[in-house]
């Protein structure tokens, strides 16, 4: 039962000491500690929200980059395609022009050949005729050395004329 009776001295000392302790701790410990904790929590929250914003910004930038890349790729494809068609057309053009040029040359060559052939033939004809005239002259000269033969021949020729 004695344990349940508070001693007056301890009551007084405990009241004073506890109030003093609370005052000192509140002023010099709890106030700065709680303020510091609160401030730190605030800064952590802010940092987290900032990180979230940065993440969103990053995602936005990434998607933008992707879009840019896509369009660039498309443009490249387009350019390549154009170049290819251009190349094809150039080659085709070159081919056709070469062909026409070739054909023209061949035509020219043919005409040239024809001309040369004609000239050669004419030369040949001329030489053949002069040669045959020469031969004929020599033969005639040889055959017309006696008078009988000449008369024969003239008679034959006149005969032929009559027949015609």
């Amino acid at each position: 039962m004695e344990l349940l009776l508070p001693e007056f001295g301890l009551v007084i000392f405990q009241s004073i000491a506890f109030l003093l302790l609370m005052f000192l701790l509140a002023k010099f410990a709890w106030k700065p500690i709680l303020a510091a904790i609160k401030e730190r929590e605030k800064s952590i929250d802010e940092a987290l929200s900032k990180a979230e914003l940065a993440k969103q910004e990053m995602a936005r930038l990434t998607s933008q980059n992707e879009e840019l890349m896509k369009s660039a790729r498309a443009e490249r494809d387009l350019i390549l395609k154009e170049a290819k068609t251009l190349k094809d057309s150039i080659i085709n053009e070159a081919k056709t022009s070469a062909q026409t040029e070739g054909a023209k040359l061949i035509e020219k060559a043919k005409i040239e050949i024809e001309n040369s052939k004609k000239a050669a033939l004419a030369e040949l004809k001329h030489q053949v005729s002069s040669l045959s005239l020469d031969i004929a002259e020599r033969v005639l000269r040889n055959q017309l050395q006696d008078k009988a033969t000449q008369q024969d021949l003239v008679a034959n020729l006149l005969k032929d004329v009559e027949l015609n």
Binding site: E7, L21, L25, F28, I33, A36
Partner: protein, 384 residues
């Protein structure tokens, strides 16, 4: 909060089980012990055997009570100053004056046999309490008159002595201040950084008090009561722990002293009453019941204002005192059995209970704080 109640219940049940276990052991061998001690001491002293038998209750109660001197070890004591406010003003002397020399040995008196005279007044000390001495001694040589229960009936001066508990109180305050001022310094030096050293030990507990005790019970108005809740939590916790240390600077049973718990409970009571808003008082004086029920309800509610802090006071006192008695009783098993072979068992149990007491030290601080927060929260609640 619900969990904590369950937990408290479990711890209490454990204590009950061990107390029963102890009772089972201590009843039967007590008789043997008595015989043994009587035989041992018969030759040396002429005192009757009954007086020398080991009284476990008396021993435990003596150790958990306050004292004017601090027992260090063996025959070494620290004598603390006695300060009395008497009819003739303040009287101040050392508690070492309550001693006599017998055959060259110092005998410490706690049975009102040694009278100290100061400023024309005579004082005696009995069971660590100081009385005005009677003019003549009774048949046992004690300068007090005793009632039938052997309690002194003499008048007492106002005792403002530096007793063991008062010294421990100041010591614990120095320790708490040293710890938390260095924690606060840590917040200044590591501003905006993660906590270091003792700061990182205490920060989780401070956050625990804020996030699990104050905010759930007090809501957005918690900041006003944080200094009180933190102070009361750490005061109780540190002193509970200090009380578990069996040697200097521990050993005092401060939080198991009713005067200390009374002041703590009174603080909660004052905070509740002075912060109570109109809804709180309306709930007490004009509860939402038919008017004829007021005859019953109002006295019950009024009674409730006082029973809550009284329950706080008793709970802390009883839990800590019970723990101390349990540990002391387990250690005393050696003397009860009067055998050294029982020592391993009693030490094993004392270590086990000591471990539980460490838990109880925290849990009781937690419960006192959370209930204080709950009572204050009920008083300041806006919506009814």
């Amino acid at each position: 909060m619900d969990c904590s109640h369950v937990f408290e219940f479990k711890v209490k049940r454990l204590i009950v089980v061990f107390t029963l276990f102890l009772a089972f052991f201590s009843v039967t061998p007590a008789a043997f012990a008595q015989v043994d001690t009587a035989q041992v001491t018969e030759g040396s002293h002429a005192q009757p055997a009954a007086e020398k038998k080991f009284d476990i209750g008396k021993f435990a109660l003596h150790h958990i009570a306050d004292s004017h001197s601090w027992h260090v070890i063996g025959h070494t004591y620290i004598d603390l100053p006695v300060i009395l406010y008497t009819k003739a003003g303040v009287v101040n002397f050392s508690s070492a004056d309550f001693t006599t020399l017998e055959d060259g040995k110092v005998v410490r008196d706690d049975e009102a046999k040694v009278v100290v005279e100061q400023k024309g007044q005579r004082f005696v000390k009995m069971h660590e309490k100081i009385y005005y001495a009677s003019d003549v001694a009774n048949e046992h040589g004690q300068f007090v008159t005793l009632d039938e229960k052997h309690h002194a009936t003499n008048a007492r001066p106002l005792d403002l002595s530096m007793t063991k508990n008062v010294v421990t109180l100041f010591l614990s305050i120095i320790i708490i201040l040293a710890v938390f001022l260095s924690v606060a310094k840590g917040y200044r030096t590591n501003k905006g950084k993660s906590p270091k050293g003792i700061q990182s030990w205490m920060e989780p507990i401070i956050l625990f008090v804020r996030d699990d005790i104050a905010i759930p019970n007090l809501g957005h108005k918690y900041e006003r009561f944080m200094p009180y809740l933190l102070t009361v939590f750490f005061f109780i916790w540190f002193n509970n722990m200090l009380g578990l240390v069996p040697f200097l600077p521990g050993g005092a049973n401060l939080t198991g002293n009713i005067a200390v718990t009374m002041i703590l409970a009174l603080a909660t009571f004052c905070l509740t009453v002075f912060n109570g808003n109109k809804y709180y008082w309306k709930h007490i004086f004009m509860p939402d019941v038919p008017w004829w029920m007021y005859v019953v309800m109002v006295p019950v509610e009024l009674f409730g204002i006082f029973t809550k802090p009284i329950a706080l006071m008793i709970r802390l006192f009883a839990n800590i005192t019970a723990g101390h008695i349990l540990v002391l009783s387990l250690i005393c098993l050696v003397f009860v059995f009067n055998s050294l072979y029982i020592a391993p068992i009693s030490i094993a149990f004392a270590v086990f209970i000591g471990g539980i007491e460490l838990l109880v030290a925290f849990i009781q601080a937690f419960i006192f704080t959370i209930l204080s927060a709950l009572f204050i929260g009920m008083a300041i609640d806006d919506h009814h």
